[in-house]
Symmetry: C2
Subunit: 478 residues, 2 copies
């Protein structure tokens, strides 16, 4: 996925860039914030992901001759010098972002872009697409991990994804969210992910009998022996055949490193219990039972609450497409513009109050109780504002009577420098470092904030100065 | 999107290929069917799409050294000669498919692969992903087109797609489904699609006032003048400012080729009527009103039923992600295997009756009433079965008492040869030819089958011979 994606932008980015060029505004310094307005899936938080592909995108920004020719052919851009600026386009400014795996919340900037209007405008589409998609899948995966009581969640969704790239980057995001492995070999290679998989129904069907298919498979893979038992009849055929094979393998090769069955249809709670009984009766206490078939976090939770005898869950469609909410809905809004060498805050009003933007150059500071190591509030502040000395009071930006005292807290800024003056100053962490980051981040939140159903709403407040500025600007709009 | 996707497969495809190699089955000839089990979105039909990328995928099949090394490093494949077969992998058999834009129905094969088991198994994942995704989006787009009463549907979803490729191929599918244009420049270039777009809120916000922003825009694009009017206040600010600008432009340049406003928030029915009134009062009868903001086919239908004064709809998230059903759920099932030079039918049973597969080498024949040019039934037949002479009777494969006489019908086969003996024998049509194909296809279906709500269920039946064979095989499974 290293291809040059420079042409990936909405047409209006190009028309606006042309407009900024023609009106002499292209070099104006501006600040844009990327954020989302609501946690997906009624989850209490969102896991940020996608920064690595954003960096790749920015590193590879450049237009080929044929791309320039295509843009010329649209007839939209009359002034040919515009294309010279496009040809020389690269990212020359600052970009701050939360590292992948950071727990984030609605309305706080997860990327802040501070650069020339020309390029800040241009990168909007690609940033939104990549961060939105990958954060969504990471969060969805984490919901499944949350309810599986420590049992591995295996990502199996490649065939049901919205295209190949969506499957590959989705696998990576699923691992970030806590999945143990993916079936997607391309993703495994590109991102160094654990891959897993055994065989499909077609393997069974291509042999004269199920037993023969199992036996052949066992001879080839005696140490990784997960047999799919539902091609003809799970309890009457698949399971007894699998047990026969396990006996043969134990006799011939000894105990496999890993062995068991996969259930892929029918009543998984019932079948898993029946299968567990039969396996145990034959002495195969450590044979594992993998279950799949349109699983999502709700079904997994249901199965766990029924004490289903399932040791690992394979999830496909519902994870890789984030089935019940397939878009996070990230937005990218102008927050400030440097006019006559002075930063001027910008705001967008809206009929829908939740769509009013937060103006100004900002930073996001997380305050974490030192004793409990428990996050108390994220405070969105002016970029140059001093961190107040504790104790101090914060308040909900809408229901301003909701107030809270911040004390005995350590704090840190969420947004880290990724680009400074066009130079990449950030070393992307490995996948396992990102996975660790998720765990460390989650450790800093209370059970109530992480709860599966109706979680506590985490506080994201504005500093008094920012709030005052926002109110002032809203009052000024006629 | 021409990259080599050879590594894009579930790991179990590789383990099974290894198994087929080790058990001497790799060269067995087999037939697989690709199909889906349910029309998406409760629509009465599905529009097939994705064949062009499937062809690209097959044309580019080949493993690089680093890919082979990666597979070796997994430690799963003990016999090194396997990798020589992988290195030489190419598609050597036959592949039949319905052309893009064909109207298709549940359970009928839309791709039939007839080749060596080794390669037939391998291509499963990529075929499912590409056909599933693109057919889904084409169908979703068509639902929006269906309810908009001829008003253009503009695809705006790039930023909300599940990744860049999903946005690009989704745009193409949206155009196949009937959208008029896309905002996605990359898709426009790669597939020769009409692109459209004007400006965003950030354009307005980057100027000192809305009026100044409009004026600058109008000076640059006096002939493509769609002004976004909701940055501050649609009726109090955006609309009167737009009208001022239109007056100035008319005076200075004459009437623009295209001009109007875009509404992007608030009550679109109400605002469009208010806007229409004001524009008409100022004499701008042909100013168009574009509406956007989380639109889907239900909202568009609602707006139309309220006689909203909207001339074009911009749709984003809900189309590009197929929001209410983000996966079609295509499957790929073994139908037959050549054993001792004789084709042996294969079937998969299931606890869920709808998941039982149709065995045998098959063809799909559509019977269309000659007088009315109206499709009557799709008949799935044995590949070598003769088309019966009319009149003849067909019957529902589940409720066999539901019968129907086929008479005075022309017929044609849905599956066309794409590859024969590994050679590409198909010339992919242009996008406009595919769009025409959709129209011609839809013309052959009754209004009841195309109805938006609770459409007639179109008959997809099995020939008597195929049905008999299926019953026989089911009875034989112990």
């Amino acid at each position: 996925m290293n291809t040059n994606l420079s042409m990936f932008a909405d047409l209006y980015q190009f028309t606006m860039m042309y407009g900024y060029y023609k009106t002499g505004k292209m070099d104006d310094e501006v600040a844009f914030d990327l954020f989302f307005r609501k946690n997906p899936f009624q989850n209490g938080y969102t896991i940020a992901a996608g920064l690595e592909t954003v960096i790749q995108y920015i590193q590879n920004l450049s237009f080929s001759e044929s791309e320039i020719e295509f843009l010329k052919s649209t007839g939209i851009f009359q002034d040919e010098r515009f294309f010279d600026y496009l040809k020389n386009l690269s990212f020359t400014g600052d970009l701050y972002a939360v590292p992948e795996g950071t727990i984030v919340f609605p309305n706080e900037p997860i990327i802040k872009v501070k650069t020339r209007l020309f390029e800040a405008q241009f990168i909007e589409t690609a940033l939104l697409t990549q961060i939105g998609h990958q954060s969504l899948i990471a969060t969805k995966a984490n919901r499944m991990v949350k309810v599986s009581k420590g049992k591995p969640i295996l990502e199996f969704g490649a065939r049901r994804a919205q295209g190949v790239e969506s499957a590959v980057l989705g696998s990576r995001a699923a691992i970030i969210g806590g999945c143990s492995s993916t079936s997607n070999v391309k993703a495994g290679k590109e991102f160094n992910l654990m891959i897993s998989g055994t065989h499909a129904h077609s393997w069974i069907m291509s042999f004269e009998s199920e037993l023969e298919a199992f036996r052949s498979y066992a001879e080839l893979f005696p140490d990784q022996l997960i047999l799919l038992v539902d091609t003809y009849d799970t309890l009457k055929s698949g399971l007894p055949n699998a047990i026969k094979i396990f006996k043969q393998v134990f006799k011939k090769h000894g105990k496999p490193q890993k062995y068991g069955i996969r259930l892929d249809s029918g009543d998984l709670a019932y079948l898993s219990k029946k299968a567990r009984e039969s396996l145990d009766q034959s002495g195969f206490y450590d044979a594992i039972i993998v279950a799949s078939n349109e699983l999502d976090e709700y079904t997994i939770r249901e199965l766990e609450s029924q004490d289903a005898k399932i040791d690992a869950y394979g999830v496909g469609t519902k994870l890789i497409t984030a089935y019940d909410q397939p878009a996070l809905g990230c937005v990218y809004k102008l927050a400030s513009e440097k006019i006559n060498n002075k930063w001027v805050p910008k705001i967008k009003r809206s009929e829908n109050p939740e769509k009013i933007t937060n103006p100004c150059l900002k930073k996001v500071v997380r305050f974490v109780n030192e004793d409990k190591n428990e996050a108390l509030v994220d405070l969105i502040m002016l970029e140059d504002e001093k961190i107040p000395s504790q104790p101090f009071e914060v308040f909900d930006p809408i229901h301003t009577w909701k107030r809270k005292i911040v004390q005995q807290c350590k704090w840190f800024e969420l947004l880290q420098p990724i680009y400074l003056k066009g130079g990449l100053v950030y070393q992307s962490p490995s996948i396992s470092e990102i996975v660790d980051n998720v765990k460390e981040n989650l450790d800093q939140f209370s059970k109530e904030h992480k709860r599966f159903s109706k979680p506590h709403v985490y506080h994201v407040d504005l500093s008094q100065k920012l709030w005052d500025m926002k109110m002032k600007l809203l009052a000024e709009i006629k």
